[in-house]
C-alpha cells in the first residue's frame, strides 16, 4: 500500500544565508496490506521527515511515494486531500483542533468527512472514547484543556474512527499508562487484522516488538550519516 522509491529531500533556509540542508536521499521502503513497519534511527535521522513526506505536508524533491495508486510526491493538493480523507490516516503526537469544539465532535469528524451520518459518527466516537478511558463527563468539552495523555488518546480515537486502509502512527503509545497503552496496541492489532498497512515511529521498544513485522532504519537514507 505504501511504496517509497529513491526519495530525497533538503531544506533551503532562505533567511539564514540560503543554507541548504540535505535531510534525505535514496529513501526506500514499502508496506504491504496488513503489515506494520516501524521506522527506527536516532533522533534527527529523519523518521518524522519521512512520515510527513508520505502524508504530504513535506514536499519531496525527487523520487516516488506511492500510497495506493497515488504518487504523493507529484499529486495535486486536491488529490492529496481526497487521499487523506478516504485512504491515509495520521496520528501525530500533537492535537490540532479548533478550540471550543467538543471532544466527541473532534473524534467523529473524520467519519462525517467521508459522508457518514451524524448519529453513526457519534456512536463510533463514543465507543472509541470509552475504550480509551476518556471519562464521559469530558466528551462535551474541548480537548484543548485536557492533559497531555488525554489529548494523546483523543488523537488516537480520532485517527482510528475511520478505518483508513493506510495509517501513519507517530509515537502512539508515548505518555500513556499501561492500561491505555494496551488498548492502543489492541486497536493497532485490530487494524492490522483488517488489512490496514501501518507505518509508525515507536520509541516504546516493547510495543514495537509486539506489533511490528519489520523495522526500517532511516539512518541509511540520512545524508552524511549512512554507514
Amino acid at each position: 500500500m505504501i511504496r517509497v522509491e529513491n526519495v530525497s529531500k533538503s531544506f533551503t533556509l532562505h533567511n539564514q544565508g540560503a543554507a541548504v540542508i540535505p535531510v534525505m536521499s535514496g529513501g526506500e521502503l514499502s508496506v504491504a496490506k496488513g503489515e506494520c513497519v516501524a521506522l527506527t534511527g536516532a533522533s534527527g535521522a529523519g523518521k518524522s521527515t519521512l512520515m510527513r513526506m508520505i502524508y504530504g505536508n513535506y514536499l519531496t524533491a525527487a523520487g516516488r511515494i506511492m500510497v495506493g495508486d497515488l504518487d504523493v510526491a507529484r499529486a495535486s493538493p486536491r488529490e492529496i486531500l481526497m487521499l487523506r480523507r478516504h485512504v491515509l490516516g495520521y496520528v501525530s503526537q500533537f492535537l490540532r483542533v479548533v478550540p471550543r469544539v467538543a471532544t466527541l465532535d473532534v473524534v467523529a469528524e473524520p467519519l462525517r468527512a467521508v459522508g457518514r451520518s451524524e448519529a453513526e459518527a457519534r456512536d463510533r466516537a463514543r465507543e472509541l472514547l470509552a475504550q480509551l478511558n476518556i471519562p464521559e463527563r469530558l466528551w462535551q468539552l474541548s480537548p484543548t484543556t485536557f492533559s497531555g495523555g488525554e489529548q494523546q488518546r483523543v488523537n488516537i480515537a480520532r485517527g482510528f474512527a475511520h478505518p483508513y486502509p493506510v495509517l501513519l502512527l507517530d509515537e502512539p503509545t508515548a505518555s500513556l499508562d499501561a492500561t491505555n497503552r494496551a488498548t492502543v496496541l489492541a486497536l493497532i492489532e485490530e487494524a492490522k487484522a483488517r488489512g490496514t498497512a501501518i507505518l509508525g515511529i515507536f520509541h516504546d521498544e516493547a510495543a514495537r516488538k509486539q506489533i511490528c513485522d519489520r523495522e526500517v532504519d532511516v539512518t541509511r537514507f540520512t545524508p552524511g550519516m549512512a554507514a
Binding site: 532562505h14 533567511n15 510527513r52 505536508n57 513535506y58 493538493p77 478550540p99 471550543r100
Partner: protein
C-alpha cells in the same frame, strides 16, 4: 470534475502600481482556500477582483453557473454579475458594519437576500430568518433588534447568516475574524467550519492569521508585493515553506 471557480492570469493595477498580478488557480466544490500575506501584499485587491468589486486589467474569473456552466464573470453583464453576488456568491466583510444594514433589524438583515430574489411571504421570510439566527447562535428573541446593539462577534455571525441564507456555493471572506477577541474568534471559526461542511461550501478566505488558515483552509496561497509566491496544501505550505518570504512569515508567528 468541473472546478467551481477557475481563475486565469488575473492582474489588477492601480495606475502603474501593481495591485496583484499573474494569479491563476482552480477552486473545486467544497474546497476552502486561504490567502495570506502582509498588509499591502495585494490579497484584498485579489479578493475584491475575484468577487467582482474591482475590474481586473487582465484575466478571467470563470464560475460554474447553475444554468450555463463555466462563465467568465469579468465579461458577463453587470446585472448577471450582481444577481450572482446575491444568490450563488456571498461576501463576508472584515467589518460587520460594511456588510450589514445597521438601521435594519437582525431579521430584516437576514431576510433581505430572500426578498431580493423574490420572496414575498412575510411569515416564511421571518421563519427562515429565525432559523438562521439559531444556526449562527444568535438568540431568536433578538430577531427584531438592530445590529448596533450586538457585540462584535454577534454582528459578524449575523453577517454570515445574512450571506448564507440563500444557500450560496462560493463565499468570499475578508479577514472574517479580524478585530475580534480570541475566544470569539474560536467560536466563529468553529461555526464557519461546520457551515462549510454542512452546506458543502467553497470559500476563499483572506487573512493574515496563520492559525485561522490552518484550521479553516484546505489550500493556501501566499502573496507578497502583488504576486503569489507560494501555494499548496495548507499544512505543507506552513510545515515546509519553500519561499523565503513564507519561511519568514511562518517563523515569525509566536508559539503559545
Amino acid at each position: 470534475m468541473t472546478p467551481l471557480l477557475q481563475v486565469e492570469d488575473i492582474a489588477k493595477y492601480y495606475g502603474t502600481r501593481i495591485g496583484c498580478t499573474d494569479v491563476s488557480f482552480d477552486l473545486y466544490p467544497g474546497e476552502v482556500m486561504g490567502i495570506v500575506g502582509e498588509s499591502g501584499s495585494g490579497k484584498s485587491t485579489l479578493l475584491n477582483t475575484l468577487a467582482g468589486h474591482l475590474t481586473p486589467d487582465r484575466g478571467a474569473v470563470r464560475f460554474d453557473t447553475r444554468a450555463d456552466g463555466l462563465r467568465d464573470t469579468v465579461t458577463m453583464s453587470e446585472p448577471e454579475r450582481r444577481m450572482l453576488s446575491r444568490t450563488d456568491w456571498a461576501f463576508v466583510h472584515q467589518h460587520a458594519r460594511d456588510g450589514l444594514r445597521m438601521n435594519v433589524s437582525a431579521g430584516g438583515n437576514v431576510g433581505e437576500r430572500l426578498m431580493a430574489v423574490g420572496a414575498r411571504h412575510y411569515g416564511k421570510i421571518r421563519a427562515t430568518a429565525s432559523d438562521w439566527l439559531g444556526r449562527v447562535e444568535i438568540n431568536e428573541d433578538r430577531i427584531d433588534d438592530r445590529p448596533a446593539s450586538f457585540s462584535g462577534g454577534m454582528q459578524q455571525r449575523l453577517q454570515i447568516a445574512r450571506n448564507l441564507v440563500t444557500g450560496p456555493r462560493l463565499v468570499f471572506m475578508d479577514e472574517p475574524t479580524g478585530g475580534l477577541d480570541v475566544s470569539v474568534q474560536a467560536r466563529l471559526l468553529d461555526l464557519l467550519r461546520n457551515l462549510v461542511r454542512e452546506m458543502g461550501l467553497s470559500a476563499i478566505i483572506v487573512t493574515h492569521d496563520l492559525a485561522v488558515v490552518r484550521l479553516l483552509a484546505d489550500r493556501l496561497m501566499v502573496m507578497k508585493d502583488g504576486h503569489v509566491v507560494e501555494s499548496g496544501l495548507t499544512d505543507q505550505v506552513l510545515d515546509d515553506p519553500q519561499h523565503g518570504y513564507t519561511q519568514l512569515l511562518v517563523s515569525s508567528v509566536l508559539q503559545v
